[in-house]
Structures are given as C-alpha cells and as structure tokens.
C-alpha cells in the first residue's frame, strides 16, 4: 500500500528532474550563440545626409583580405553635369563603413574589376570616352587610368582568363560597341553591332538616370559550339541577347524581342545548351529555368516556354548567376517584388527545379543591383532602397550559407 503511493511519487519526481535537465540543456544551446559572427549575415543601409543626392549602386566585390567594396553612381540634382559621378565605399566584413571616396569619372555602370590585388571600375569622362580606372583598395586612392578607345560604356565583364569585355555605344555609327582587352587592358579585339536606328537619346537617359534602365549585361558561355560571350545590347533595332564568338567577337546567334520595350533581363549558362533566363514582355516578367538555346541561330524570346513571375515589379531587374557550395550547385535569380521584398529564387542546377525561395520584406521600395557569392558560400546582395520613401540609398544584404542548404 505504501509502495503503491511512494513509487508513483518517485517516478513523477524523476520525470520532473529529467524535464528540467532537458529544458536547461535546450535553453543553454539557444543562449550560447558564440559561434555566430556579425559577418555571417547582416543588413546595412548606407545613408548620406544630403537630400539632393541620389545613389545608384551598381556593383560589389569581396576583397581577399575580407570586407567589400561597392560602386555607386551618384546623381546630384544641383550639378552642372547631367551624368552621375562615381563613389566607392569600402566596408568591413560585417558591413561597417571603412572609407568612402568620390571620383570625377562619370556614369560608372560597369561591374567592379578585382584583379591582382587592385580594384578597377569603368566609367567615362565628359567627352563620353571610356576609361578603366584602378584604385588602391586600402584607401581608395586612384592608382592608374587607361583609355579603352570606345565611347559610352554600358557594362563590362571579366572572364576566367582575366580578359575584360566591355560594351559601349558608338553614337557616330549608331552601333553597340564590344571590345575585348587582355589583363593589361590592351585592346585585343573589337566589334560593332549596328543598331540601324538612332538610340543615343535612350542611351543617354539610361546613363544619366533619367530614363528607362536597360538590362545591359555580358557573360561567358562554353559548350560544344565553342567558347564565347553573351551580350545584352541594342542590335538591329531591338534589345537582344547576342551570342559572340570568343575569339572574333562576331555574332553567331541571338534572342530578340519587340524593339526596345521588351527583352531578356538576365541569363546564366547552366550546362551545354541549357540556359536559365528571365525576361519581361507584355507587362509581365517570366522565368525560363532550363531553356535549350542554340547559340548559333536567331530566335524570338516568346518561342521559349516560360513561367510567369507576376510578383515581380514592372520590367524587373533580375540578377542571375550560380552558387557553388561544397554539396551542390545552384542557379540563383534575384529580383524584387511589388510588395517591397527582395526575393531569391534558388534552382537546382542539374534538375532545373525550384528548391527554395528566400524573401526579405522592406518598408520602402527596393531594387536589386548586383550580387556575388562570398567566400563563406553565402551571398551578398547590393540593392537600392528609398529611405523614408524619399532618398535613394545603397543597401547591402549578406545572407549566410545555411540559407541555401537544399532540403533533402
């Protein structure tokens, strides 16, 4: 009789003690956050007190010694020159400001170049002549400048061999101008793709940030047809993605759309003839996660089966690229939605299936401008945001690698 009373009591006490121990262990694990470092993931908005300045962030690189440098075009509404000047900002690995430097170079609409310990950017002078400018990443001081013998630079790309490919616009011959330079920025090859109509005004408004922002970009492909580049540019009346032979820079094929109002907004080669693309036409955005494209022929964007992305903003800028982790390879498409969110679509590179969608909402309007894979296998997204709904400023969003682990 007594045992019948005492034994359940002992069992109950044992369960309570076990529960308390489990609770303490669980709470201890949650409290111990020593392994989480500020540089693993952060979000920073870089404000400038001058209300009359508008910042247009363009490109970001991660430095080998840690930290980031990003470039912005800065439009001063009181300036005599209509084109925006150049600002570089260096941050620590956790996004805190290290230095900032302004340059007189105009319309820096290119990717930043990280080569041999120095950082470079491409911009133009007041005569529209394109230059590559290198700076000391330690303090931002300009170390060299070199003319690229082209005008109105629109975008650039550094391939795996260290060759620099630059897209410009020749307002004399009304052509898109593509040039390839070696790692000393010496001209190797150049080609002009005739637009056949005068689009200088559209180009000017794109560069001085008063008109439509066109998705000019350059990338590289390599498949059974050979190695080459894809360039999104004006060609033969329309905004096209043109495939160029890697040596001669001659056009081998292209994907076209309707004049300058529609086009491809991003592209990434997945394997062989399989590309991932996003586009905008007829008022909507579309994604083609695994489209088979013949780089030796010309085709219409509407002939490729596509999935609509109704959530994205009108003519949404999209940044496409790959993410290589120790376990898997992914294709990423990063853009912004109508409800002020940055969104990352993560596709498995082999199966072309959507494995994850990451979203970050903001109070104010945001727009993605660039992204890079960081050395820790996370990503850093450079975007612009309207602080207080009024002032356009850069935003840097670092996502840790565990956000991209595929769920088995």
């Amino acid at each position: 009789m007594l045992n019948a009373f005492i034994e359940p009591m002992n069992r109950a006490q044992g369960h309570i003690v076990l529960f308390v121990i489990m609770l303490l262990i669980g709470a201890g694990c949650e409290i111990n956050q020593n392994e989480i470092m500020p540089e693993d993931g952060f979000l920073k908005i870089y404000n400038h007190p001058e209300e009359k300045l508008a910042f247009f962030p363009e490109s970001i690189v991660e430095l080998p010694e840690g930290g980031f440098i990003y470039i912005s075009a800065v439009k001063d509404e009181d300036a005599d020159i209509e084109y925006p000047y150049t600002t570089l900002v260096r941050t620590s690995a956790s996004g805190e400001l290290t230095w900032t430097m302004d340059y007189d170079w105009l319309a820096p609409t290119s990717k930043l170049i990280l080569e041999n310990g120095s950082v470079g950017f491409i911009a133009m002078n007041q005569q529209f002549d394109a230059y590559v400018v290198t700076i000391d990443p330690g303090n931002g001081m300009e170390t060299a400048q070199q003319a690229l013998d082209m005008t109105m630079p629109l975008c650039s790309f550094l391939d795996e061999q260290g060759n620099l490919v630059v897209l410009g616009y020749d307002f004399v011959t009304r052509s898109s101008w593509i040039s390839k330079y070696n790692d000393n920025f010496e001209l190797q090859r150049s080609n002009k793709l005739p637009v056949n109509t005068d689009l200088e005004y559209l180009i000017q408004r794109h560069m001085n940030k008063t008109g439509q922002d066109y998705p000019f970009f350059i990338g590289a492909y390599n498949n059974s047809s050979g190695a080459g580049y894809f360039v999104n540019c004006f060609y033969n009346y329309t905004l096209r993605t043109v495939f160029l032979d890697g040596s001669s820079l001659e056009a081998t094929g292209d994907i076209y759309s309707f004049q300058t109002e529609e086009g491809i907004s991003s592209i990434v080669q997945k394997s062989g003839n399989i590309f991932g693309l996003t586009s905008y036409y007829e008022g909507n955005n579309y994604i083609m996660a695994g489209a088979e494209i013949d780089v030796l022929s010309s085709g219409n964007i509407k002939d490729i089966p596509a999935e609509p992305l109704y959530e994205l903003t009108y003519r949404a800028p999209v940044m496409a690229g790959s993410l290589n982790t120790n376990a898997d390879q992914f294709a990423l498409f990063i853009s912004q939605t109508n409800d002020n969110s940055l969104v990352v679509y993560q596709y498995d590179l082999e199966s072309d299936s959507l494995v994850n969608t990451l979203s970050r909402s903001f109070e104010e309007r945001v727009e993605v401008r660039d992204y890079i894979q960081t050395t820790d296998q996370g990503i850093a997204i450079l975007a612009e945001i309207y602080i207080l709904g009024k002032y356009k400023r850069p935003l840097l969003f670092k996502l840790p690698p565990d956000q991209f682990v595929s769920e088995e």
């Binding site: 009789m1 007594l2 009373f5 609770l23 669980g26 709470a27 949650e30 409290i31 956050q33 989480i36 500020p38 693993d40 993931g41 952060f42 979000l43 920073k44 908005i45 870089y46 404000n47 400038h48 007190p49 001058e50 209300e51 600002t87 900002v89 941050t91 996004g95 805190e96 400001l97 900032t100 002020n340 969110s341 970050r360 909402s361 903001f362 109070e363 602080i387 207080l388 002032y391 840790p400």
Partner: protein, 232 residues
C-alpha cells in the same frame, strides 16, 4: 501505525504550504552589451541609438504563487505571465532634418521564478528578504520585432517584502530587482525590416524592477490575530 505516520507526514507537509495568486507592475531597464545599427552614414557620422527611460517602460505580470514555509525560511514559486515594454530609438541624420524612429517592443514571457526568503515573525507583519532565480520562455507574437529575440531567458535577483496576516488570507507585498544573466538577442535574426520596423537589434540584457501584491491562502490552521486583542 506506519500508515498513520505517513498520513501525519503528508498532513505536516500540506500544513506548510500556501497557495494564492497575484500581480503587479514592472519597470524594464536595458543593458546594452554591444550596439548594432542598420544605418551607416557615408559621411562618417555615427548615428545615435538609445532606449526609452525606465519610467517609460512599464509592464505588468500575473502569476500564481505557491509557497512552502518553515519557521523562518520560505521557498516560493511564482509561475505566470510577465510582460515587459520598452522602445528603441534610432536617429537618421539629413542636412535639413533628423529623423528619429521608435521601435516599440512588447515581450511577453512565461516565467517561473523560484525564490528563497528569510522572514522575521513580527506577528501580523512578517518582513522578508531573499534571492530569486527565474527561467522565462518568450511567448509567440505577431510582432515582427519579437523574432529578433531568443526564446529563453534566465535571471537572478534580490527580493524583499512583507507578509500581512489577515487571519483567513495572507497578503504578500513584494518587490524585486532581476538582472538578466545573458544576451537575449537572436544573433541570426537581429536585422528587422518591413512590417513597420527597420532596425538592428543590439546585444542586450533585460533587467527589471517588480512590485507585486499576492493573496495567499494557508492550508495551516490560522493563527488568531485580530485588530483588537481580546482576553478571555
């Protein structure tokens, strides 16, 4: 005879229990361990972050109270809902204006404080002093800023107060100051944007000053105190 002894022990154990309920107000004090800001000034200026002052941070708590007492020593459990309020203030500087953004927090914890009290028997009034430790678990909320905190919280503190014996019930007037023992910020989710907030959560400890009033019912036979002493 053995059964009789056990029943006697049970009866003695129950005689030393008091059960009741209570509530009160609290004032939150924030101790910043490391400050973080979502805004960086390209011009190099430092933006000010601060928290509302203590007297603006008034919260409340409701709990049940279970006490075991011997002659001088009292062990009290006061599990309940403890709500803390405070606000973080962020400044953003512009040439022609300085914008101050306020992020209000309402943290509601389920807390289990365990207190040891040493009391002095002054008949009707029995003042006490002691110490407390508490485990808290943050309750869910639709407030987006709550995601910037971890669920668990441990505190330790000092308590003081007095029992007021009203014959059939005992009032417990209680004050305590609790110190957070660790950072309560969720380091993986310290940056909050959207849903009406844009801020970076500092590494903080949450301290609080509480004043409570409890009503306790003793299972012991009541002492016969009265406002008028009668002699028969």
């Amino acid at each position: 005879m053995l059964i009789g002894t056990v029943r006697a022990q049970e009866a003695g154990y129950l005689d030393q229990l008091r059960i009741g309920f209570g509530g009160g107000a609290n004032i939150t004090s924030i101790a910043v361990l490391e400050s973080y800001n979502i805004y960086e000034d390209i011009g190099g200026a430092q933006y000010e972050n601060s928290y509302t002052k203590m007297l603006q941070n008034i919260g409340n708590q409701y709990f049940v109270q279970v006490e075991w007492f011997s002659k001088f020593l009292i062990v009290a459990l006061r599990p309940g809902t403890y709500t803390y309020r405070f606000s973080k203030l962020n400044e953003i500087d512009f040439t022609n204006e300085t914008v101050e953004r306020e992020t209000p927090y309402l943290l509601r914890y389920f807390t289990v404080p365990l207190e040891a009290r040493y009391s002095f028997d002054l008949q009707r009034f029995r003042p006490y002093a002691g110490g407390s430790v508490a485990y808290s678990n943050l309750l869910g909320s639709l407030d987006a800023s709550n995601e910037t905190f971890i669920r668990s919280r441990f505190t330790a503190g000092a308590v003081a107060g007095t029992y007021i014996d009203l014959r059939y019930v005992i009032l417990d007037l209680h004050a305590g100051y609790n110190v957070g023992l660790h950072n309560i910020t969720n380091k993986t989710d310290r940056f909050a944007t959207g849903n009406g907030v844009t801020f970076a959560q500092d590494d903080i400890m949450l301290n609080d000053l509480q004043i409570n009033l409890s009503i306790l019912f003793s299972l012991q036979k009541q002492k016969h105190y009265s406002n008028v002493e009668c002699f028969y």
